[in-house]
Symmetry: C2
Subunit: 375 residues, 2 copies
């Protein structure tokens, strides 16, 4: 803020205040908004008129009052004014979800991809899913994409990616040119944490460490509610530390034969049935995940540590040992929570990335009309 | 901000804007302030009158103009309205610095303490230094204290401290009761980083990792300009990770005989003179510091990594190997900078802690008169 405040600033601040309450509520009357915001009724009515004119709010019917007064009109955020896409581009497959501006899921599809597929083939699968799900590209406001590896400020994964030929792929340009949408790219573990913060077990917790224990193991964190990105996008890559065996841990769990993704399930099920070799491998896996989690915990001292990814579905088999191993290595033990978001949490995190871009564009300093942004 | 903005808010905002510019400048005229803030001349004059009435500004003489106009009065922040103390309570000694409200150092004293001294004896040394340095306790506005170990929100170091009997010591109560000042307690490594950010090589860098390589080795970091504290104050304790040998590294450098503090100097000097055993020990030390720095770097991906502490004075002997070892372990290499603040950087960091408390109390939402705060 370089200059002074004037009445225009104050009016815009009041409009934002009303919009913020409407985005968090199911539907509110003007007098409920006045109570919640501390604004006068004329200020609330002025804000509502402006928000309706700009397309940000819609009617949510009439309230029925217990006190016998006249029913009042209810207002709600117009979440269906636009659509958002979330895309998870993985080694073995692609997942696309469609949501409204509030992030409510409307559609979801997956497709398999050969691990050795080159970028053109992999991206053609994404195109096909989008074409099948989106009739009118003009209704889409923004697209979030999750990929493995550190994502730099241009949306590239130049430092490291498990996808063949991926270092030079420019996703914002590729999809921006094809569809005309703003395209946001994020690291898969980091955006999964965004989903946990918005819809999962990390809701309302500001200092969260997150360990995604899937076919790959990765870490991410929020500090004071802010996602740790790192100067070059490479925060959370503690699994690369030689003493942290995250690059080998899933392979050792599965055994040297077989694919990682079904192999994890098989290993956990064998352990559940009491097979001795599988039990030992699951114990080793728990210790390996704990070594990296200890590095994260000692560095950040989070309030909560969330476990997500495919291994979270088998938490009862390995998280007790993980917790004991972690507790033996750290100064202060965080609360351990198991993700409940399931298999689409990375795609939902990508959707959240698109949602945050919309929030930044539309609910920041300047309030503009509710229509699709174009780069 | 739960309510709406009114003209009182706007006026206070303008006063803060003028004060902020005066705190960062050597001395400014009203027209310079109008140019720098974008405020009108009447708004600037109103703000200056209010700031003078509250005691926050003083005259900095008259300006001489190049254009032949009338000389204008220069205003400056009244940094000598109060004093701040910074105290570094270490295993082998205590250091106290006195500064003004801008953090300019006015006085500094050190005293040795036996490592085995119990809290009462150790704190009596602090009292004696303060009594010798501060004639009028009423002139002191706040006191910052740095200690080793994670500092919780109450100012205690209950999780870990190398000082005998220290877990239950309540420094804010002890010194607050004795002198009546607000007392802020911080971890030594974290406050040394605050000093680096304010006066040292981390000035102007928001994503900084800091490794304090002294008789103890510790880490700290800022993310987006905010100090990483951790939910229980235990962020940065990556040296406790078993694979990171920070608890042994200095002992191994010095050898099993002798005190750590002179021993470090002796080991580095022996290496500088080419003594083979010392050279090997310094190489091992460089690798040990790098292992922990790799954990920090992989987790946070900082822009700059600052090396401080006693070993920083011998940087040319070990930092080249440290850098090579670090580069082999991380995905993206941060810029390495060597601290130039010298031996009092922890005490200056404690002073900075006091300064930040004053900024929070006086330059936050409400502007109050310039006089010593009392708890």
């Amino acid at each position: 803020m370089a200059g002074s405040l004037d009445s225009g600033h104050v009016r815009r601040f009041n409009i934002h205040l009303v919009l913020r309450h409407l985005r968090e509520a199911e539907g509110s009357t003007a007098s409920e908004l006045a109570g919640a915001t501390g604004l006068s009724r004329p200020s609330v009515n002025g804000a509502l008129a402006e928000l309706e004119r700009l397309g940000w709010i819609a009617s949510a019917g009439m309230s029925t009052t217990d006190l016998g007064g006249r029913p009042a009109r209810r207002h709600r955020f117009h979440a269906s004014a636009g659509l958002l896409l979330g895309v998870d581009i993985g080694v073995h497959g692609v997942r696309v979800v469609v949501g409204d501006l509030s992030g409510t899921l409307l559609d979801e599809r997956v497709a398999g991809v050969a691990p050795e597929a080159m970028p053109d083939a992999r991206l053609a699968v994404v195109d096909a899913l989008i074409d099948a799900m989106v009739n009118d590209p003009g209704r889409v406001w923004a697209m979030g994409i999750a990929v493995t590896g550190p994502v730099d400020s241009s949306g590239r994964t130049a430092l490291f990616s498990p996808l063949p030929g991926w270092a030079e792929v420019d996703l914002p340009q590729r999809f921006g040119r094809r569809f005309g949408w703003p395209v946001l790219v994020g690291n898969d573990v980091k955006v999964a944490l965004l989903a946990e913060r918005q819809w999962g077990v990390a809701d309302g917790v500001d200092d969260v460490a997150f360990v995604l224990a899937g076919a790959r193991i990765g870490a991410a964190a929020t500090v004071g509610g802010m996602l740790l990105r790192g100067h070059g996008g490479a925060a959370g890559e503690v699994g690369a530390l030689p003493a942290v065996r995250w690059g080998r841990a899933v392979r050792d769990l599965v055994g040297n034969e077989g694919a990682l993704v079904p192999g994890m399930d098989l290993a956990f099920r064998a352990a559940a049935s009491g097979e001795r070799g599988a039990l030992a491998r699951v114990e080793r896996f728990a210790d390996d995940v704990a070594t990296g989690a200890a590095a994260v915990t000692l560095m950040l001292d989070p309030e909560v540590l969330v476990i997500g990814g495919r291994a979270a579905a088998f938490a009862e088999l390995w998280v007790p040992r993980f917790s004991a191993s972690l507790a033996a290595q750290v100064l202060r033990m965080p609360e351990i929570r198991i993700s409940t978001l399931g298999g689409n949490h990375v795609a939902r995190g990508a959707l959240r990335l698109a949602m945050l871009d919309i929030e930044r564009r539309f609910f920041g300093d300047e309030l503009v009309a509710a229509r699709a942004p174009r780069p």
